[in-house]
Amino acid sequence: MSLIDFSSDAFIVAFFLYCFAFMFYVIAAAGKKWSNRDPLVHEKRWGKIAFVTSSLGLAAHLTFFFTRWAGSGQIPTSNMYEFMSFLGMAIMIAFTIVYALYRKTLLGMFALPLTVIIVAYASVFPQEVQPLIPALNSIWLKVHVTTAALGEAFFAVGFAAGLMYLLRVVDFKGKTKEAKRSQFWVEFSLYSILLIVGFIVAVFAFRAAGYDAQFDQEKSVIDTKGIESTIKETVNYTLPPIVKPYNSEVVKFESFLGMDSAVMEAPYWMNGVNSGRKLNTVIWSIIAGSLLYGLLRLVFRKPLGAVIHPVMEGIDPDDLDEISYRSIAIGFPIFTLGALIFAMIWANIAWGRFWGWDPKEVWALITWLYYSAYLHFRLSRGWQGRKSSWLAVIGFVIVLFTLVGVNLVIAGLHSYSGV
């Protein structure tokens, strides 16, 4: 068995350990109200089991990382699969550090599913080791990517704690305008998370069914001399094409539920690599996510926020607020170093300019400005509790857009790690 095969096994082990750890955290939190037990003892006991499990998961994940590194001869952060799974690992590291500081068991109930989703999302992408193109082959790339991801991981933990805070304090029985608005947006946040889950489910379901479709797309490209030429590209779909690529012809189309041609064509202004396919994926995620959401609503017969809210009882909201803020405050310098300073050093070495207003660079700057606004709002304007938690939640959306959305929608230097 080669090192790379071994590392793939370690990855699967990590994934399942994370899933179990998540379940144990849920038991630790929800099981407090079960009969014939002392809630405090129960929480302590199961919290410990859950933490040990999640730490074992992290150990397996680290094993994956280092054996893949050894096996491929390059640090596994160079494509979307490797990067996203690294991000998942970084979130676990950040969670472990924050846990060590605050010892709040329930944080795991939110950090773990986040990791599980991101690790599952990572496995959507092709898992082969790809050789690096020369522009990427530098020590600074490794340092830049890993440090930036670690900073973002702390923002992720800040997001998890912020969302917990909101689930804890929002009044889900309230009928006031303010309460209704909070309920809506909390529900919307949960729905958005389900969309990502929906995406993963859709991809794996159709992959298991072996679905594929193919299009030939004609594209005009303008080269460095300004000469326009037309190239033909084959675009492969693994999800039934609701949207076909702009300016394309069907090569192969398996009928799905009676649908045997694409419903519409991707708009011309979507510039990213394979943007038609990506738009199709987004639409499928919305469909699958909405189905999932509808199903959960049918099972519980009330908004998901109201389902989770009672579990949060007994947690001090001030602690959650502080944890959210503290994670972001810990992550901010790391993010600055990794996503801006190391990135500038690397850009200066690789392209001879430390800053080029490439979309990915701009979005890293936007993320940084956003979190510096967050810190100033908190320190100088006294934005705490709800306001601060909402900012932490929105901030993570910006982080995700920087990591994934930019590659999805905008073309630029970083599109080599395209979806």
């Binding site: 522009a135 502080e322 600055t336 207003w357 936007i366 100033h376 705490q384």
Partner: protein, 555 residues
């Protein structure tokens, strides 16, 4: 604001206008009734900021505007919102070569593209309003910091140990207790515990002040100094001569001037190496994935005849380097980076012969470069006068010959030939060095009669000079760079100081046997409470850390 406010504290200290807490004893000054029970606002230790003056003049008003953190936050938010707009479509500077933004955006993106261009968003980051925002952020950084750091420094460097009871009991972390036994001994014991936790302990009878990590308060200001340096460095780059960023394309063997400089660069050889199939995963097999590309470059400096277009410049070699990605040629701040390449071969020169078809005699070969050929070639009894020379020959719309570009893609020569059997005034002869063009443009048909008398042809590939590839180099120069790094280092040090350490202070006083303890930190109340509870436990008082919380904000 013209009224003179009475800002004298009951302890006798005269405070400046705008002071929230007495600079000496800490007693809250002039407050509304409804906040009288809440924890105190401890920001900047309650001292008056520079901007809080009673009679502001114009300069004070500008100062006041920029000294507001609220304004600073608005500026930050505005900056990132506008920065977002700039990423909707590619910016103008991502296009190399001749391209007309006015046409491009409308053609590619339709009406929205046109509006985008007209709003100036196609060069967002060079626009006056974006740079204006950066300048304003810089100003705000300077003024906000100065406004706060000086008063804060004064307040922290002359702290009084015995604080007003209200000051202590209205901290966010508060503890009250009745002490049995010797209060002096208790205070000493408690102080010793705090010392073990790394606090500096000052005592004044039964009053105590313990403080740790004061330096972390300077973190934000050091960070801001770094950011100011960084911004200044960036703004300095718009000064001419500070920064350059251009591209040169150099075919193998050519020497090309670097625009706006006295330097010339020669590419002796460009090589590209691709990954072999066995090195690639299945999906990428058969694709040309570049592994390494390299330009053997030589840099020359022009020593004479430089500005004169008619004279040939005299060049002196200054340095040579094999440029690969991540390893540029560097010379006196000038850097040449590998940017791209073009593997289309380019014809440089041919060495053709002239054949007299009547006699079968062969004259030559002679040297015929594609550019700057000699105007006349003498070959035996024949004389060739160069009449015209095209780089990419084509017949224009008007039926006249024309050239489509300045690169020798389809070169053509028109000679006026004199010699035996030819018109003494000279007969025109059209010559296409490339076989494909000879066929395409039907050379023999164009030349008519003269094609039966003479022929110009190349014998074998030895007589053809061509470049296999062209290398595209990116030329950069940036004198602001050292300042950028210094700024980044300052900023990072400041951030670390401010984020990973917290300034913690504990005040206590014992009045009779009543202990009043208050504690303050600028971050991490959880840790602050743990410190107090830990020290109390060591002296025999067990408290739940959470119970010390007095409510209020926990910034």
């Amino acid at each position: 604001m013209s009224l003179i406010e009475n800002t004298k504290c009951e302890c006798g200290h005269q405070n400046a206008v705008g002071t929230v807490l007495c600079e000496s004893c800490g007693k809250p000054l002039e407050e509304q009734k409804d906040t009288a029970e809440l924890p105190l606002e401890m920001r900047y230790d309650g001292v008056a900021r520079r901007s809080q003056k009673s009679n502001p003049n114009v300069i004070d008003r500008v100062w006041n505007f920029f000294s507001s953190v609220k304004i600073a936050i608005y500026l930050i938010v505005l900056t990132f919102l506008t920065a977002m707009l700039g990423t909707i479509y590619p910016q103008e500077n991502t296009f190399v070569g001749n391209f007309d933004p006015a046409v491009y955006y409308e053609e590619t993106y339709g009406l929205t593209g046109k509006i985008y261009y007209m709003l100036g968003l196609t060069h967002t980051y060079e626009s006056w309003w974006f740079i204006g925002l950066l300048v304003m952020i810089g100003t705000s950084l300077v003024i906000c910091s100065l406004d706060r750091v000086l008063p804060l420094y004064r307040a922290l460097s002359k702290q009084q140990i015995r604080k007003h009871l209200q000051f202590i009991l209205r901290q966010k972390t508060v503890f009250k207790h009745t002490i049995e036994g010797d209060t002096g001994h208790w205070a000493e014991q408690f102080g010793a515990q705090l010392k073990r936790k790394g606090y500096r302990v000052h005592r004044d009878g039964t009053a105590l002040l313990a403080e740790k990590n004061r330096f972390s308060r300077w973190g934000p200001y050091i960070n801001h100094i770094g950011l100011i340096l960084f911004l200044l460095a960036i703004l300095a780059r718009s000064i001419p001569g500070f920064q350059m960023d251009t591209y040169v394309s150099v075919p193998d063997g050519d020497t090309v001037q670097i625009p706006d400089t006295n330097y010339y660069v020669k590419s002796e050889k460009f090589t590209v190496e691709f990954y072999k199939d066995e090195e690639l995963p299945d999906k990428l097999k058969g694709t040309a994935r570049a592994k390494l590309y390299e330009t053997k470059a030589v840099l020359y400096e022009c020593v004479s005849g430089c500005g004169d277009p008619t004279a040939k410049p005299e060049l002196r070699e200054v340095t040579r380097h094999d440029i690969v990605v991540n390893d540029p040629l560097k010379y006196k701040g000038l850097k040449l980076y590998q940017f791209d390449f073009d593997l289309t071969p380019r014809l440089n020169a041919v060495h053709p012969v002239l054949v007299d078809k009547k006699t079968g005699n062969v004259y030559g070969p002679f040297d015929l470069p594609m550019r700057d050929s000699a105007m006349q070639h003498k070959l035996g009894p024949f004389t060739l006068d160069l009449y015209a020379n095209y780089m990419e020959f084509a017949i224009g719309d008007n039926g006249e010959p024309t050239t489509l570009s300045r690169d020798p893609v389809a070169p053509a020569f028109i000679f006026s030939v004199k010699g035996p059997g030819l018109d003494p005034a000279g007969e025109p002869y059209m010559y296409f060095p490339m076989q494909k063009d000879k066929v395409k443009f039907a050379q023999d048909t164009i030349n008519k009669g003269i094609a039966d008398k003479i022929e110009i042809r190349v014998d074998g590939m030895d007589n053809v000079d061509f470049s296999e590839a062209s290398t595209h180099l990116n030329v950069r120069m940036d004198r602001a760079l050292p300042y950028v790094w210094v700024g980044a280092v300052f900023s990072m040090i400041g951030l670390l100081m401010g984020s990973y350490w917290q300034h913690r202070r504990i005040w206590l006083r014992i009045d009779g046997s009543e202990l009043s303890l208050g504690a303050h930190t600028n971050k991490n109340w959880y840790g602050m409470r743990a410190d107090v509870a830990g020290a109390l436990k060591k002296v025999g008082i067990a408290v739940d850390p959470k119970s010390l919380d007095n409510g209020g904000n926990n910034a």
